[in-house]
């Protein structure tokens, strides 16, 4: 390897409010390599790369590119230094053509438009060279996701770059498109470019990389040559951490089946398949966890169970009753409680009071309403009771819920959902965005619910959360349930492999 690294990142730190996204990251990228960044959600991969390409400015630390210390104020400055990034969310104007998207913000628009023929010619030339199949006059919104991604990659090449950063490029691709992308990365390297590939899919990373860096909690914990490691080791590095809590398992064996999902299939709002023939059972007195990297169909699974997303095929049975495709009002009335993933979107109305938020589902039912009018005294008493029992820190029940901390908001949501006396509780991200104290509290509350015979399905991207309270853990990958494991820490790497989509142990050189 050369003396001076192509790109050197030295002790970068970045905070967003209380969240530390980069906690002193150091990383070196060699010229002409494919360097993969591996890590769970929130490990800090995307933020780190956004700092290299000028989207985000680091608080501390240094970035040295081609031997020079650089500090970009915008992606355009990074492009000028020949660093380009393709983001997970495409940055294209949907109703413009490919060529028009490329010249946006490029110097004098009038001059460029006069040169439109040259722009088209150059796009065709690059498209042919890398077999990208991009037509310069195609309108973006007519293109498939895979095509749009090639348009994005070509855009970066069009501007001329030496370092290409791809942020989770395969997340939206079909297997065939993925193969194509991986071979394109090889072609780019042959042309003297350097590629940074962000992913959490082990097999892809193992296939294309020269070196792999694993990130965890805002730091690079390991950088290895691909020949010196294997998928199992990488998985352990990726997820391995101390589980902070061990809470008591259920003393009783689980009882009857409360929720039963049979071969359920549904699509995301984008129309793409998201949940593929999922079957699972949750019994009374049992907490079943679903682990997985986010974006593998967990959101759609929970929305479909709650009646917020149409089910394409399959059945959902609750207490032996078919609830498939019922509207949320009926599902809510069938002993079904739901602690939603996105609290601010679904769970609460931020500008309304705690009282109003506690009766969100039962605003027209006795005793909270009679003869069409809200019974404010009863609602107030009920809310005060929940505030006290769940130790929600608030001024009073008339305070807007948006004024509380995330943990206290979540406590109120949990309190509301448990107060509805459910048989089944669907939880998606129990402890997202809340402090340790509140987390411990809501987890203990879940265990109490389990011990009193309720059936709980806990979807989470936080392994800690799952290990702490689940009786068994299913792994969801690409819309399918891949495995069913006990929450046994010794099988952590097996879990990691399943989360990365590997159902059997790959035979790789150690």
């Amino acid at each position: 390897m050369s003396q001076k690294p192509f790109l050197r990142i030295d002790n970068i730190r970045k905070r967003f409010g209380p969240i530390i996204a980069s906690d002193g990251v150091s990383l070196e990228i060699e010229e002409g390599e494919i360097h993969s960044l591996l890590g769970e959600n929130g490990a800090g991969k995307s933020v780190l790369m956004s700092m290299i390409c000028g989207m985000v400015r680091p608080d501390e630390g240094e970035i040295v590119f081609k031997g020079q210390s650089v500090r970009f104020n915008s992606p355009r400055e990074a492009i000028r230094q020949r660093i380009g990034m393709v983001h997970q969310h495409f940055m294209l104007v949907p109703n413009l053509t490919v060529a028009e998207n490329y010249i946006l913000g490029q110097g004098s628009a009038l001059r460029v438009i006069n040169d439109m023929d040259k722009v088209h010619a150059r796009i065709r030339e690059l498209s042919d060279r890398y077999a990208l199949d991009v037509r310069p006059d195609a309108i973006i919104e007519d293109l498939s996701v895979g095509e749009q991604q090639r348009v994005e990659i070509l855009k970066v090449l069009f501007h001329g770059i030496d370092l290409l950063i791809l942020d989770e490029p395969t997340a939206v691709l079909t297997p065939q498109e993925t193969d194509r992308l991986l071979s394109l990365m090889g072609d780019l390297v042959k042309d003297g470019k350097t590629v940074v590939f962000i992913s959490h899919k082990l097999d892809e990373v193992m296939r294309v990389s020269n070196r792999i860096s694993v990130m965890r909690d805002g730091r690079v914990v390991h950088t290895v040559n691909v020949g010196e490691t294997n998928a199992r080791e990488l998985a352990r590095m990726m997820v391995g951490r101390d589980v902070r809590m061990e809470l008591p398992r259920s003393p009783e064996p689980p009882g009857r089946i409360v929720l039963s999902v049979e071969n359920m299939t549904c699509r995301a709002e984008t129309g793409l398949p998201a949940v593929r023939r999922v079957s699972l059972d949750v019994r009374a007195g049992e907490i079943v966890g679903i682990a997985g990297v986010s974006g593998n169909g967990q959101t759609e699974l929970s929305l479909a169970l709650a009646g917020l997303l149409p089910v394409d095929s399959g059945r959902v049975m609750l207490n032996g009753k078919d609830i498939t495709g019922l509207d949320p009002a009926r599902i809510n009335a069938s002993s079904f409680s739901h602690i939603p993933e996105d609290r601010h979107k679904h769970g609460i109305v931020v500008s309304m009071s705690l009282s109003e938020n506690t009766v969100l589902q039962r605003y027209d039912q006795k005793p909270f309403a009679s003869r069409g009018m809200l019974n404010r005294r009863v609602i107030g008493e009920h809310t005060r009771d929940l505030i006290k029992r769940f130790r929600v820190k608030s001024r009073d029940e008339n305070q807007a819920i948006g004024a509380l901390s995330g943990g206290n908001q979540q406590k109120l949501v949990v309190a509301r959902e448990l107060a509805r006396n459910p048989d089944f509780i669907l939880v998606n991200q129990l402890a997202r965005g809340i402090d340790i104290g509140a987390m411990e509290f809501v987890m203990e509350e879940m265990l109490k619910q389990r011990d009193s015979g309720r059936a709980i399905l806990l979807i989470s991207t936080e392994l800690e959360e799952l290990f702490a309270i689940c009786d068994r853990i299913l792994v969801m990958f690409h819309g399918e349930i891949l495995g069913d494991l006990p929450p046994d820490r010794t099988r952590l790497d097996e879990l990691g492999l399943l989360m990365a989509g590997q159902t059997e142990q790959p035979a790789l050189a150690g």
């Binding site: 709650a306 917020l308 509207d327 949320p328 009002a329 009926r330 599902i331 809510n332 009335a333 739901h338 939603p340 979107k345 679904h346 769970g347 609460i348 109305v349 931020v350 500008s351 309304m352 109003e356 009766v359 969100l360 589902q361 605003y363 027209d364 309403a369 069409g372 009018m373 809200l374 404010r376 005060r384 505030i387 006290k388 130790r391 820190k393 608030s394 001024r395 009073d396 029940e397 008339n398 807007a400």
Partner: protein
Amino acid sequence: MAQVNQGVRETVYPQAAQPLYRTLSQIAISAVTPIAAVLVALACGAALLWLNGFNGSDIVTVMIFGSFQDMRSVGEILLKATPLILIGAGLCVAFRCSIWNIGAEGQLYVGAIAATLVGTNFDGLSVWVHAPLVMLAGALAGAAWAGIAGYLKVRFQASEIVTTIMLNYIALILTSYLVTGPMRDASAAYPQSARLIREAWTPRIVSDMRLHIGILVAIVLAVALYIFLQRSSRGFALRVVGLNPHAARYAGMQVARNVMIAMCISGAMAGLAGAFEVAGVTHRLYQNISPGYGFEGIAVALLAGNNPLAAIVSGGLFATLRSGSEVLQITSQVPQVLVLVIQGIVILSVVAFAKLRDILRIVA
């Protein structure tokens, strides 16, 4: 009342009953901001007049006090306030549900047409039957007209801003067609409908003033809508849908039904305002029966912070300014364009202060 700490882990916050104090402070904020908005606007208007060579200081006295000369002029202000309060209070309900009904003007016209149809027919009914029937007809017609836009929204996701504006044109042109064609009073030189039957007229409060009981109806309905929004289950659902439709769906509320209800309530109020214009003021249908009450009603609701109770005050304020600007034109030779500019400044200032009030509410 203060409370001792009950647990070791966390402080129990005092749960004293503060609602009265808090309600009062909210009302104070609601009341002070509109007045401040108008004062700032009038100050700007005064400066504008002064720059144009008029006596700027007159503007405040003329626009606010000029129209309060005697009981009769107060009656005229209340007459103008009637449609503004009705429409403003109705729009509060729609806006609270995040339904941007810009079509109150059209709904007013359709209400006026329906009121005219009922008021010119059914001879021989008593005033106790005929007058309320006219009001009911206006309200139903307005609700139905708004319901078209509501249906297009829930069924085809058509923007109600666009559809209600387009329905305004249809209603206005329909009125023109009717008073120049099928409903025209053949004996009149000017395009207008036949006169309403005496029993269909909205009863006056004092026999020698034009002011009719519509103002009382408007105030009662505004109070009723306030109670509906704040205290009823349905009103609660409307507010949740308006603030967070995702949470509404999660909670099992029927978003489409609530949208239709909010739309129809605001339409009914505008339709009723149209009925009162015909049955209470002109007693005939004309092409230009409304001087833009439907649009001014939007500003009334905005100034009221979408609170129907406050719409009574802000409706009265806008009526006062409307009368005042008429007086200003007559007494001081200020060109009408300048009066329009001043009215525009009032509305801009109202919007700015409405935003300021929302900020204050959060702080309070």
